[in-house]
Symmetry: C2
Subunit: 188 residues, 2 copies
DNA sequence: ATCTCGAACTTTAGCTTTGAAGTCTTCGGT
DNA sequence: ACCGAAGACTTCAAAGCTAAAGTTCGAGAT
């Protein structure tokens, strides 16, 4: 097994390199277009590595990646940084039940407050606290440094082109998927 | 509960569009480079949507996305499609405990077999069954159709360029992360 | 006014994963 | 040979999620 270059040097444990993996796919599945597979596999791996990086950064701040997602959603909603649990759940791709629990924890940690809407007493309002906003800001600063570093070697043209192509692919996927209520993890 | 009410229209529920999101980020965080954010957000979203698509396909086959990952790892290891639990766990980015449970289920479903290594009685060998290989093949066929469709609108040059740029980014991330034994979900 | 349907959130039960402790086998030092 | 340490897997307890049932409140129909 362990054959050649940097088999395990960096990267994850016994994981084959991208090149090894594509070669293996070609052996096992002739119909495969190596160019397509290269793009798809690189996309997937890149995303995983980035999530690990984000996870480390947020962990250093004493919050989880899951909590950072909530903070992001609240900040993105704009001042006064309030959203209902069901709205949050939709944005994050969670079930309402999971949202309830996550908010429980974040209230206990002082990142958000939860109160009933007086005009609409069925509703609940989750609001960012100053501490929560500060955590978001710190995470954001670390993230932008990381992201800038990641794209450092790309020329201006390459960045423009990459953004445009990815957006085009995204549109295609979203258009092709009317979404039958699928639940999935969010993390923009 | 019916499957219709405005719960979810196109894309995810109350999720803002990519453009809205970037505009919101710029309002809340001046230091943000919109071009970088566009790339990063598109990458993240694209990956999510693709995982949903894979999840639907594998669900149609009666297996979970998690199980498909195990099948992929075994096939990629080459004939005779055998790996130990700890090796599998490393490739999938799972803890050994999770691997044990996942193998339990897959053995029960007839996708793999588990037996002790006679020459090394501490070790266990997980081997793909013909049924497991057939499931992998079916999933693979569906995946390649989807992937080909996704990249349909890209020219040959764009595909080459995209693959090259993504590979470059991946190398950068892997080089920058000596990997402190991080656990994360795999899904190439 | 009251009733009933429906919406928003919470609670409950079950599943998957993690982290830590436990079991069994192999290997190396004495 | 014997004993201890290390490795490979499993077991156990707890965290976090989903699906489904339960609760509470509001709006329109009777």
């Amino acid at each position: 097994m362990g054959d050649t270059p940097g088999t395990i040097g960096t990267g994850l444990g016994g994981e084959p390199t991208l090149e090894e993996q594509i070669a293996a796919y070609q052996r096992e599945f002739q119909d495969l277009d190596p160019q397509v597979e290269k793009i798809v596999s690189a996309l997937s791996r890149l995303n995983r590595r980035m999530n690990v990086a984000y996870g480390r950064q947020t962990a250093d701040l004493g919050i989880s990646n899951a909590e950072w997602e909530v903070l992001k959603a609240l900040v993105l909603s704009g001042a006064p940084y309030r959203l209902g649990p069901s709205d949050l759940a939709k944005r994050l791709g969670l079930t309402p039940a999971a949202m309830t629990h996550r908010i429980d924890r974040m209230v206990a940690e002082g990142l958000v407050t939860r109160e009933r809407d007086e005009s609409n007493r069925v509703r609940v309002i989750v609001e960012l606290t100053p501490e929560g906003r500060e955590k978001w800001l710190q995470a954001m600063r670390m993230a932008t440094v990381f992201e800038g570093d990641l794209l450092q070697d790309l020329t201006a043209d390459e960045r423009t082109s990459l953004g445009e192509v990815l957006t085009r692919l995204l549109r295609r996927v979203e258009h092709a998927q009317p979404d039958a209520g699928g639940r999935l993890s969010d993390l923009d």
